[in-house]
């Protein structure tokens, strides 16, 4: 029997062995001679998880927290892991919702990322919900409280300075600065959050995780050997005085305008008010876009930082600067006088002057104290027409260069985004304006701060710093130190001393004394502080608006600039209240109260009435809303016209093209 079957036995042997060999050869090719599967296995099974560090905290000059990260909890759910028998009623009670709401939320969460993956069921639980849930989480398998930080502003102030964060936009993703960002990342969009984004955001960490077929992370890859930790963002310590800032915002409530207070010795901004403002907490979390749209539509433009973007004619507040330029250029001395008899007539038309008494502009100090228009118009003409420069055009250019050095006509470089430069004309500006045919008479208004000159409040405050420091300034800035280090390289540019004049201190004293006279004997009496020598200058600025195609004269802007104390200046301030009237009436008290608050830390009882008057005043004119509505309508019409024009030119182009093609056919083929 076995004899006959022997060959068959070997056939079966061979089949077994043959198949095993084929498998081994195939394995050899699959595993040893082919590398692509290794890469594929890496790709499918390893996932990178970005660990976001907490953003840096922002402190004021006294270490008070202005912006920090609050821990909030989201309720996460993995629908697949939730057993059917959980106590839904208990969960609903803890959350304070009813079962239908619960079912809706649960369904939405399980659909969002699929039932096997975690998704947010309820965002940002209230502290009560969190507390009730935390005790009982064990009873709800599949549910999880996930910790998260949100930016929180403890006080509803300084919104425009601190700025806000938001999700990165597609256009920003393409920018070089944000090369390391991904869609869905948060970044600073405005204010300090924007400027110091790189400092505040810290360094993101990367954890490598293995993931499973449902893309759920399972465990660290290679036990975390390749991971990099997240490094928390550095904190910012500001010069800003949170109390002063809040006080300024209160004083400026129901007014349109701005206050900038600077410590002249460092260039550090002590307060920067732009009014109206908004509660910064509106622009965080889930309601950001809704609130943003609402604020954007507000006629009083609360999102607009007037302190760095508002461009105002400075009016009389500019006069000390005119004097400085004239002094430095050597066209006048402090004893220079002008026989003003109540006006300036040298250029054909009268320029009015408040005072008419003889000798009110007998020297610089008197001219400043009495704010003599004629005097400053005259010295400006003397300056630009000076023989030293050769021609009025060169003179104006020289004047322009001085002011440019003072920080006018271009953004000062304050550490906030989107700063504007104001308006500072040079000779080519006048060449364009008058087609080359002009002289000093055409521009004399700039000597008294009217006409073709506009400054931002921060520039105006900086001009006070120059006088307070007797000839130099530091670029105004908000951040004193980064992560406790005042010498951080980012801040280096703010430590550069800008020396802008070569006027001796004695002459500066005369300018300062002139300004002190403004307070003690002149228009700025409201700013008298007992025991403190306050130097100030009021300004009442004419301004116009275009309403219904007509230029309409609006109520004057109220301007006040000051620094104090004269002997050892600690604060320089500029206040502008739009369409409010005399500089001494509204801007003056604001500046004075803020200086008092800063210098003495309290308000004297006999000055409380000023506070009350300001708190009660509503200086937002109704026509602001009308003008805004008209402007929006105009913008819209313009936009529509432009679109229509584009459409028309497109179709015209199209018609022309087809005619051209027809002609070409005719020429080439005779059809």
């Amino acid at each position: 029997m076995s004899f006959a079957s022997t060959p068959r036995r070997y056939v079966i042997w061979s089949i077994f062995t043959g198949v095993a060999l084929v498998i081994i050869v195939k394995l050899l090719f699959l595993q040893v001679f082919n590398d692509q599967y290794k890469i594929l296995a890496q790709d499918i099974a390893i996932t990178k998880k970005v660990i976001y560090p907490p953003r840096g905290v922002i402190y004021d000059r006294r270490g008070k927290v202005m912006l920090y990260n609050q821990v909030v909890y989201d309720l996460m759910v993995t629908a697949y892991e939730v057993p059917d028998n959980i106590d839904t009623m208990m969960l609903c009670n803890a959350l304070g919702i009813d079962t239908t709401e619960y079912k809706k939320l649960f369904h939405r969460a399980s659909v969002k990322n699929g039932p096997r993956r975690k998704s947010v069921m309820i965002e940002q639980l209230t502290p009560e919900q969190t507390a009730r849930l935390q005790e009982n989480m064990y009873a709800f398998p599949g549910f999880e409280l996930s910790e998260r930080y949100i930016r929180t502003y403890p006080d509803p102030h300084a919104a425009l300075i601190l700025g806000y964060i938001g999700e990165i936009s597609p256009s920003k993703l393409k920018e070089q600065r944000y090369a390391s960002y991904r869609q869905g990342d948060y970044l600073g969009i405005n204010g300090l959050e924007y400027t110091y984004e790189e400092v505040l955001r810290g360094q993101r960490g990367i954890h490598f995780l293995e993931r499973d077929n449902f893309n759920r992370p399972t465990e660290p890859y290679r036990k975390g050997a390749l991971d990099t930790p997240a490094i928390a963002g550095k904190s910012l310590e500001l010069y800003l005085d949170a109390e002063l800032q809040a006080y300024g915002e209160q004083l400026m409530a129901n007014k349109i305008g701005s206050v900038v207070a600077i410590d002249p010795k460092t260039g550090g901004i002590l307060a920067m008010v732009s009014s109206p403002s908004y509660d910064p907490n509106l622009l965080r979390g889930r309601h950001r876009s809704k609130n943003f749209a609402r604020l954007e539509l507000d006629a009083t433009k609360p999102l607009y930082n007037r302190a760095i973007k508002g461009e105002y004619q400075p009016g009389s507040a500019m006069k000390p600067m005119t004097a400085l330029v004239a002094l430095d250029a050597g066209v006048i001395t402090p004893s220079f006088g002008f026989p003003c008899m109540g006006g300036y007539y040298n250029c054909g038309r009268r320029i009015g002057c408040t005072h008419s008494g003889g000798g009110h502009a007998a020297n610089l100090r008197l001219a400043l104290a009495n704010s003599c228009n004629a005097y400053f118009v005259h010295i400006l003409r003397l300056l630009v027409d000076s023989k030293k420069f050769g021609s009025v055009k060169k003179g104006v250019q020289r004047w322009h260069d001085y002011y440019s050095d003072f920080g006018f006509g271009h953004p000062t470089g304050v550490d906030l985004p989107y700063e504007r430069g104001g308006l500072l004309p040079d000779s080519s500006y006048y060449n364009n304006m008058y087609r080359g045919n002009w002289n000093s008479c055409n521009m004399l208004f700039v000597g008294m701060g009217q006409g073709e000159v506009a400054l931002t409040p921060v520039q105006l405050a900086n001009s006070m710093c120059i006088i307070a420091n007797k000839g130099y300034y530091y670029t105004p800035h908000l951040v004193k130190s980064i992560g406790g280090n005042p010498k951080d390289t980012i801040l280096r540019k703010y430590h550069v001393k800008h020396k802008v004049t070569n006027i001796p201190d004695t002459v500066y004293n005369i300018v300062a004394l002139g300004m002190q006279d403004v307070v003690e004997r002149g228009t700025g009496r409201v700013a008298i502080l007992p025991g403190v020598s306050v130097c100030a200058k009021t300004g009442t600025v004419e301004n116009k608006a275009i309403v219904d195609g007509q230029v309409v004269k609006m109520k004057d802007h109220s301007v006040f600039v000051a620094f104090a104390p004269r002997e050892d200046p600690k604060i320089a301030i500029a206040v502008i209240v739009e369409n409010a009237g005399f500089g001494a009436t509204w801007a003056g008290p604001v500046a004075s109260l803020m200086m008092e608050k800063y210098l003495t830390d309290s308000i004297a009882t006999n000055r409380k009435h000023l506070e009350t008057r300001l708190y009660n005043a509503n200086l937002i004119n109704p026509y602001v809303y009308t003008i805004d509505a008209a402007q929006r309508l105009k913008d819209r019409l313009r936009w529509e016209t432009r679109m229509e024009r584009t459409r028309m030119s497109d179709s015209l182009q199209h018609a022309q093209d087809s005619i051209r093609i027809k002609r070409w056919f005719k020429k080439t083929y005779g059809i």
Binding site: I23, L27, L28, A41, N213
Partner: protein
Amino acid sequence: MTNTSKSVFGRVDGITLLLYLALVFVGMLAIFSVEYRSTDPSIFMMSKSHMRQFIWLIISLFAGLLIIFTDSKFFSSVAYLSYTVALILLILTVFIGVGVKGSASWLGFGSVKFQPGEVAKIFTSLAIAKFLSSPETNFATLKHRLIGSALALTPAVLIVLQQETGLALVYMCFFLVMYREGLPHIVLIIAFSAIALTLATLLIDKTVLLYIVTGLALAVAVLMRKVLRREKTVAIILVAVWGICVLFSQLVVPFVFKNVLQKHQVERIYTTVGQDVPDEYLAPEDRGKGSTISGYNVWQSKIAIGSGGLTGKGFLNGTSTKNEFVPEQNTDFIFCAIGEQFGFLGSAALVLLYLGLMLRILVLAERQRSAFSRIYAYCVASIFFIHFAINISMTIGLAPVIGITLPLLSYGGTSLLSFSVLIFILLRLDADRQVMIR
């Protein structure tokens, strides 16, 4: 030669037992590695498959012990009875079977489920051994050959009715046994030709294949024209072969694909040969989409095995298998765990371990005095072979994805128990290899 003096334990073949235990051990390791997470509090977690598999191993070894203590003649005497019971169970399953993924091949007793198709292999082996070894059987006659085939095919048909075509395919292995016992060589040749023709049908367009086959037939006719003129039978055979080929590729395969096989099986078959399913085999709504899901399994399986490299990623470091990218990875695709973690060296060693076991069983078979034991041993070897060949081939893309387990390695109680019982009955019979068993 006589070993009867020793106790039955002393007569059990040590090599087979060792190979068996080695494979079971590898299986436990593989199942453990697939489900292990570094965060697990303990490796002895009853919720994990490897612990359940361990309990099944203890049950299997206990069953093995019982078998060793049983009289060797018992198995031949209950062969037909057990076969009948198995058939009844299979018929029952067709009607009251519980479904797992589209099939209905499980019977449930309370919380315990088992697959009669898996167990029936044992009893079919015994029945075939009993029938072929019976003195009344003359396997040279067509009648007895048909009865033998029927013994193998009846359970297969019942399993097909349970929508478990893969498992039914296993029963084809009994033809290897019958070949050993006297089926003509031509059966084997036809079987291999059929596989070749099937592959050609899958790979080559139907019409093109028709031309090729016809061309080949004409070429043979031209070459052998002198022989053909003399021998009419050769001409008839040539025409018959041509006819069968054409019939098979043009009618039988399309018919089977359209009417017999499930949609996913057709897909799997085409995926394996690297082709998209032709539109004619698809439901109208699926046309023009190309192959999708079944390709994923093989693709992930190949990534897992291929990424193992020469030496593998190391025990418990398999990123693909641990994270469940490979579907059914502790049952049908358990080989991926070996391939990924132990690389080519590990997987080749495992293949050689299987080859060793199968060849050892053949050695045991050929040393039996009684035909019953020999045929039974061949049955065991063939069953192991077909499971091993198809399962590993499908994980590395050599065969269609057919849901059958890797013997002794795959997770699953019925599978482990039935393979253990197969081996232990063999060991028991081999212990009494000098005794004539009828």
